[in-house]
C-alpha cells in the first residue's frame, strides 16, 4: 500500500502491466524520454526499454492505427494521446476501425487496446487543451469509455482496460492528476468496467458525476449535508456501457437527481442519464432531473474558465430547487 496521486497510480498501473504481460506496449508522443506531457509514463522507457515504450512521430491517427494493427497481431498496446482536443485526427481510426473490427470480421480479429486521453479544463491551458467531449466517444458502439476519479480506481480500471478483450477509451481527468492522494494497494487488481461507484450513500438526493467534476460534486454534497440533507453521490467511472442498474437504483431510492458534468449540455451524457432515469424510475421521482453542466460554448481560455466550469454553488442551488419542490 502506498499513498499516491492519480498520476502516480496510473504510472504504477502501467508499470505493473508492462511487468506482468509481455504483450503490453506503450505508444505516444513524448511518452518515452520525457515521460509524457503530464509525466504519466515517467520512467517506463528506462525500465522497460525501447521495444516496449515508443516515442512516436506527431500523428495521432497514425499512432492509433498502428496500435490497432499491433492489437490484431496479438499485442496489447496502450496509447497516449496528449489531450482530448488532439484526439480528433484519430477519430476516424477509432470509429471506423478500432470499434468495428470485431463486428466486421465476426470475432475473427479483435482490437484489445487502450487509448489513454487526458481531458477536461480548469488548468488555464491553451485552446483545444480543455475539452470534455466524452459523449463523442460514448456514442460509438464497439468501444468502452472509462473515466477514473480516484487513485485506486485509476489503477484498477486501467489494469481492467488493458486486460479487456475490447478497445477502451480511457479518459483521465487532468485537474485531478495531482489534486488527490490515496492509499492504493501495490497488488495487481482490476476494477470492473461498467459499474459505477457509490461514493457516498444518502437518502434525499442523488448527485451523479464523473471525472474532475467529482470534486465539486463532493463539496456540494458536503455543503448540503451541513444543511441537514442526506446526499448520495455516484461516480459513474464508466461512460460506456453506462451502469443503468446503478443509476436507476439510486434514483428510485432518493427520488431526486442532479447530474453534473463539465461537457456542453446539448448532447452531453446528462441527457442520456436523465432519459435512463425517466424510463426506469419515473414513478419514484419527486422532482425533475436537473443538469448542472458546461455551457454550449467552446471551452474558454484561462480568463473565462470561471464562467464556464460548473461550480459548487451552482450544484447546491440546483439541488436546493428540487429538494424544496
Amino acid at each position: 500500500m502506498s499513498e499516491v496521486t492519480l498520476a502516480q497510480s496510473l504510472n504504477g498501473a502501467m508499470d505493473t502491466a508492462l511487468g506482468s504481460d509481455e504483450r503490453v506496449v506503450l505508444l505516444g508522443e513524448d511518452i518515452g524520454r520525457t515521460g509524457g506531457v503530464f509525466r504519466i509514463t515517467d520512467g517506463l522507457l528506462d525500465k522497460y526499454g525501447e521495444k516496449r515504450v515508443f516515442d512516436t512521430p506527431v500523428a495521432e491517427s497514425g499512432i492509433v492505427g498502428a496500435a490497432f494493427g499491433m492489437a490484431i497481431a496479438g499485442l496489447r498496446p496502450v496509447v497516449e494521446i496528449q489531450f482530448l482536443g488532439f484526439s480528433y485526427p484519430a477519430f476516424d481510426q477509432i470509429i471506423n476501425h478500432v470499434a468495428r473490427i470485431r463486428n466486421r470480421s465476426n470475432h475473427r480479429f479483435t482490437a484489445p487496446m487502450v487509448i489513454r486521453i487526458p481531458f477536461g479544463g480548469g488548468i488555464g491551458a491553451a485552446e483545444h487543451h480543455s475539452e470534455s467531449t466524452e459523449a463523442l466517444y460514448a456514442h460509438i458502439p464497439g468501444v468502452k469509455v472509462v473515466v477514473p476519479s480516484t487513485p485506486s480506481d485509476a489503477r484498477g480500471l486501467l489494469l481492467a482496460a488493458i486486460e479487456d478483450p475490447d478497445p477502451v477509451v480511457f479518459l483521465e481527468p487532468i485537474r485531478l492528476y495531482r489534486a488527490v492522494k490515496e492509499d492504493v494497494p501495490d497488488l495487481y487488481y482490476t476494477t470492473e468496467i461498467g459499474r459505477l461507484r457509490v461514493e457516498r450513500e444518502g437518502d434525499d438526493i442523488t448527485f451523479i458525476s464523473w471525472g474532475a467534476m467529482i470534486k465539486e460534486t463532493r463539496a456540494a454534497a458536503t455543503a448540503l449535508e451541513e444543511a441537514g440533507w442526506s446526499v448520495e453521490v455516484l461516480d459513474l467511472r464508466t461512460l460506456s456501457p453506462l451502469d443503468h442498474v446503478g443509476i436507476v437504483t439510486s434514483a428510485r431510492k432518493t427520488g431526486r437527481v442532479v447530474v453534473v458534468h463539465e461537457a456542453p449540455r446539448t448532447g452531453g451524457l446528462g441527457g442520456e442519464i436523465a432519459a435512463i432515469i425517466q424510463e426506469g424510475a419515473l414513478y419514484s421521482l419527486l422532482a425533475p432531473v436537473r443538469r448542472v453542466t458546461g455551457w454550449d460554448t467552446v471551452f474558454p481560455l484561462k480568463r473565462s474558465e470561471g464562467h464556464y466550469l460548473p461550480n459548487v454553488d451552482q450544484i447546491v442551488s440546483a439541488a436546493e430547487e428540487i429538494l424544496e419542490a
Binding site: 500523428a59 498502428a66 485526427p89 471506423n96 470485431r102 475473427r108 443503468h244
Partner: protein, 340 residues
C-alpha cells in the same frame, strides 16, 4: 517502369519466373476474372450489394499475392478480392461479404488477411502495426497493404509511410494505380511524376512496375518482401494498371473517361499477354484454356451456392459481434429487439 512481358507476349528480358509458375499465375488470373465477371452478373441480378470490379488489375493482385508466404498479413480494399483470394481468403466468404453478410469478414484461422477496408486509406497504417508487432514478437512475417492511387492523397498515406520508415517495419505498400479514383484521374490526384517517387521522401525504396505484367509484379514484390523479411524495412510499389470496369456497379465511367482509352488498355490486358507468352513457349493450348475456365466456373458457382446457403443472420449475432461479452445495456436492447 519495370516490366518483363510485353503486351504481345514477348519477353523483354530474361524471365525470373519458370514456365510452370507462369502457368499457375495464368490459371489464377483466369479464376479471378471468372469471379469478377460472376459478381458483376450477380449484382445485376440483385443477388449482391454494390460490387467493385477489379477487371484489368488481375496481374497486380495475383502477382503480389504470389510473392507472399501463407502466414503473412494482408490489408487491402474492397477492390482486392483477387489479392485476398490468392492469399487464402475463400471465394465463398468474399461473396458472402458482398451479399451483405458480416460472416464474410471472417477468414479461416490460419489466413491472416483482414476483411476489406471500405473507407479509403485508413487501413494502410494497420499493415504498419501488424508488421511492427510481428517484428517485436521476433517473427519474420511481413504485412502487405494494397490501396489505389486515390488513397495516396489521404493524410493516412503519409502517416503510414512515415511510421513504417521511422520504425523500419516489414511492410510492403502496394499501390495499384488504376488511373482513377471513381471519376478523378491520376493526373489530377497528384502532380508528382509518379507515385513510386514519393517513397524517396520517406526514406524507403520505391519502384514503378507495369501492373499488367504478372511476372514483373511478382518479381518486384518478391524483392520488397525479401528486404522486409530480412529486416530491411518497408518499400513502396506502384503497379501501373487500369480499371477496365466502372468504379462500382453504381457508377457510369462514360461520364468521366474516354472509352477509347479503356479500349486501348484492353490491348494491354494482363491475361492476354501471358497467354501469348505461354503459347509461344508451348505452355498453352485451347483445351487447357477450356479446362481452366470450366474449373474456375465450377469453383465460383460452388462458392456462390455456399455463400447463398448461409442461414439467415440472426439478431443475437448482430448484437453479439460488438464485444466479446455483450454489455448490460446491449443485452437489454437485444431483449427489447427480440420482443418486437
Amino acid at each position: 517502369m519495370f516490366s518483363l512481358i510485353n503486351p504481345d507476349g514477348t519477353v523483354r528480358d530474361r524471365l525470373p519466373v519458370t514456365l510452370e509458375e507462369m502457368r499457375g499465375l495464368y490459371a489464377d488470373m483466369v479464376e479471378a476474372r471468372a469471379y469478377d465477371h460472376k459478381c458483376m452478373a450477380l449484382q445485376r441480378q440483385g443477388r449482391l450489394a454494390t460490387y467493385a470490379p477489379f477487371e484489368g488489375q488481375e496481374a497486380s493482385q495475383i502477382g503480389a499475392a504470389a510473392a507472399l508466404r501463407a502466414d503473412d498479413w494482408v490489408a487491402g480494399t474492397y477492390r482486392d478480392a483477387a489479392l485476398m483470394w490468392r492469399s487464402g481468403y475463400p471465394w465463398r466468404l468474399l461473396i458472402a461479404g458482398r451479399t451483405g453478410d458480416e460472416r464474410g469478414g471472417s477468414p479461416p484461422d490460419d489466413v491472416n488477411v483482414l476483411p476489406p477496408s471500405i473507407t479509403v486509406g485508413g487501413h494502410m497504417i494497420h499493415a504498419v502495426g501488424l508488421a511492427w508487432a510481428e517484428a517485436l514478437k521476433g517473427s519474420d512475417r511481413v504485412a502487405l497493404t494494397s490501396f489505389g492511387d486515390g488513397a495516396t492523397s489521404e493524410g493516412d498515406f503519409h502517416e503510414a509511410m512515415n511510421f513504417a520508415a521511422v520504425y523500419g517495419t516489414p511492410t510492403v505498400f502496394l499501390c495499384q494505380n488504376n488511373g482513377f479514383a471513381i471519376s478523378y484521374p491520376r493526373s489530377e490526384q497528384t502532380i508528382s511524376e509518379s507515385i513510386a517517387m514519393k517513397a524517396d521522401g520517406y526514406g524507403m525504396p520505391g519502384v514503378q512496375v507495369d501492373g499488367n505484367d504478372v511476372a514483373a509484379v511478382l518479381t518486384v514484390t518478391r524483392e520488397a518482401i525479401d528486404l522486409a523479411r530480412k529486416g530491411g524495412g518497408p518499400s513502396l510499389i506502384e503497379a501501373v494498371t487500369y480499371r477496365l470496369g466502372p468504379h462500382t456497379t453504381a457508377d457510369d465511367p462514360g461520364r468521366y473517361r474516354d472509352e477509347d482509352e479503356a479500349l486501348a488498355w484492353r490491348e494491354r490486358d494482363p491475361l492476354q499477354r501471358v497467354r501469348l507468352l505461354l503459347e509461344r513457349a508451348g505452355g498453352w493450348a485451347p483445351d487447357w484454356q477450356e479446362e481452366l475456365e470450366t474449373k474456375a466456373t465450377t469453383r465460383i458457382e460452388e462458392a456462390v451456392a455456399e455463400a447463398e446457403a448461409l442461414p439467415e443472420p440472426n439478431l443475437e449475432e448482430m448484437f453479439g459481434r460488438m464485444y466479446e461479452e455483450p454489455t448490460g445495456p446491449l443485452q437489454d436492447q437485444l431483449d427489447e429487439a427480440g420482443n418486437e
